[in-house]
């Protein structure tokens, strides 16, 4: 999808929707995306403040404001460039700072063999127990997982999430823009090793046979294990002073990077796609720059409010997935049709997005998972909040896809001359082998696919 984003010279994902469809589709997407970024940013801020509260014993409210202040200083002064520079540095810190923990804790848990021997088999396999919804902890059939997560949420994240796409949009040329998501996918593959694996290690270490290791996941106020604190508690348990500081900094870096990325994306979308488009047209660049800085401050303040909302969720990852399922799920259908079907119209895209978002809300209102949702009527219980998010994403995508096709068939499409460079069939293909970076694209993509297949076979 990168050739269409970059080739259209759009500065944001909603701006692409304006070029491809119309003003109302852009407005709807800009508003829903702006809401998603401040929710996501608030979740990172909540995690950041929680960490300061648990490890440094700071007051939670004070931690929220200090963390928000630090992110605001560097995004306010440096904008997108400083956020991206910090993200790169923070990425290395996260991987290098948490890798020793995985090595030491994995050894203590008896290696992968020890984990497999200690845990229920459905916790160490990706697909094997997905044949029936009641035989896996997520409560999902494999088709829901494949469609909701593997297709809608994953493609939605990589292809339509402005936070991700924005990094490629500021590339120096088309070849680097196309290479950006492919290169980014390699370090992303390390994330399960430093995020998911420590979770499995923590549960293994709590088994009676390993009680001598002296590790416990901290408890919630209700008495159950507080899984949100798994990583900080493992760091506190295994890291000596010195490295403990590096580990805490790595965690702080990961949350700050998530928050800064969302705030800069919120800034761009609000300034370009809402303020410049509807509230104050034809002003000098200096004016928009000033407004952008004000929006950064406003974005941080709204994030503080959403951080308190995130506090009410017992698992912040579930909350994050639910937010994505409401926005990225339906949006992916709009992009898929917009980029690959020249007959898709602005009315169709708008109706599809509205129907998709409405379907997401209705699905959430009719399903209940871990006490969340079911606000219309809790007709369909689902075992896990994450499973609920995948189902919400899948249904919202289908609603958007079908509505967009139906409405497009009855409305007039844009002339082909206005769609050149925006739709696949009307865009001139560029060769990838024109530069060293371009020639790397296909081999790297094949390598990624091969690694993905091998990992799925190993952890089947």
């Amino acid at each position: 999808m990168m050739p269409f984003y970059y080739g259209s010279k759009a500065r944001s994902v909603p701006e692409y929707l304006f070029l491809r469809f119309d003003e109302k589709t852009r407005a709807l997407n800009a508003v829903s995306f702006a809401a998603m970024t401040v929710f996501s940013s608030g979740i990172s801020l909540y995690a950041l403040a929680k960490l300061l509260e648990i490890i440094l014993h700071w007051n939670f409210d004070l931690s929220i404001w200090i963390a928000a202040g630090i992110v605001m200083v560097y995004t306010f002064l440096g904008g997108l460039t400083s956020a991206v520079y910090n993200e790169v540095l923070q990425f290395f810190l996260i991987v290098m700072g948490l890798s020793p923990l995985v090595i030491v804790a994995l050894q203590d848990a008896g290696g992968w063999a020890g984990i497999k021997a200690s845990l229920a088999p459905e916790m160490t396999h990706a697909w094997k127990y997905m044949g029936k919804a009641d035989s896996n902890p997520m409560g999902l059939h494999f088709s829901s997982l494949l469609f909701g997560l593997g297709f809608v949420m994953s493609f939605g994240y990589w292809c339509t999430d402005f936070l991700v796409v924005q990094r490629a949009m500021i590339a120096r040329n088309m070849r680097e823009a196309r290479l950006t998501p492919v290169v980014a996918a390699f370090p992303k593959m390390l994330m399960p090793l430093i995020v998911v694996l420590p979770g499995l290690i923590a549960i293994t270490l709590m088994q009676p046979a390993l009680a001598s290791k002296g590790y416990q996941i901290p408890s919630t106020d209700a008495g159950g294990p507080d899984y949100t604190l798994t990583l900080p508690s493992l760091i506190a348990h295994y890291y000596p002073s010195g490295l403990l500081g590096v580990g805490i900094t790595a965690l702080l870096a990961s949350f700050m990077s998530g928050m800064a990325g969302n705030v800069t994306a919120f800034n761009s979308v609000f300034t370009y796609d809402i303020y410049q488009s509807y509230l104050a047209r034809n002003k000098p660049d200096r004016h928009y720059l000033f407004v952008g800085k004000l929006v950064t401050v406003a974005g941080i303040l709204i994030s503080v409010a959403t951080a308190y909302l995130a506090r009410s969720f017992n698992n912040i990852n579930d909350f994050l997935q639910l937010v994505f399922s409401f926005v990225n799920g339906p949006l992916f259908a709009t992009f898929l049709l917009g980029m690959f079907w020249k007959r898709a119209t602005g009315h169709g895209a708008f109706a599809g997005l509205a129907a998709g978002t409405l379907a997401a809300a209705i699905t959430h209102g009719l399903t209940i998972a871990e006490g969340k949702g079911g606000w219309i009527s809790p007709l369909f219980p689902i075992k896990s909040g994450m499973g609920q998010a995948f189902i919400v994403a899948g249904i919202s995508w289908i609603a958007n896809f079908l509505t967009c096709i139906l409405v497009s068939l009855f409305t007039k499409p844009k002339p082909e001359s206005e769609l050149r460079g925006l739709v696949y069939s009307l865009t001139v293909r560029t060769r990838n082998s024109e530069s060293p970076s371009g020639s790397l694209l296909v081999p790297l993509a094949i390598l990624l696919l091969a690694i993905t297949i091998v990992l799925n076979i190993i952890f089947f």
Partner: protein
């Protein structure tokens, strides 16, 4: 001189070299068994920091 601050590899390299120095000094002042993780991580950070500082991106720019 300030242009060098835009070389991200250099900034990352210096950052990890500083962390390596702190971890290695901590280990050398207290060689307790529990601190051996600081030694191994410090050495890894040191090598990574040197590698990042030695990358020359000018050729590609």
């Amino acid at each position: 001189m300030f242009q060098k601050l835009y070389k991200l590899n250099l900034i990352i390299g210096i950052f990890f070299l500083l962390l390596a120095v702190i971890l290695l000094i901590d280990y050398l002042t207290d060689k307790a068994q529990a601190k051996s993780l600081n030694l191994y991580t410090g050495i890894t950070f040191l090598l990574f920091g040197i590698f990042m500082c030695s990358i020359n991106r000018n050729k590609n720019e």
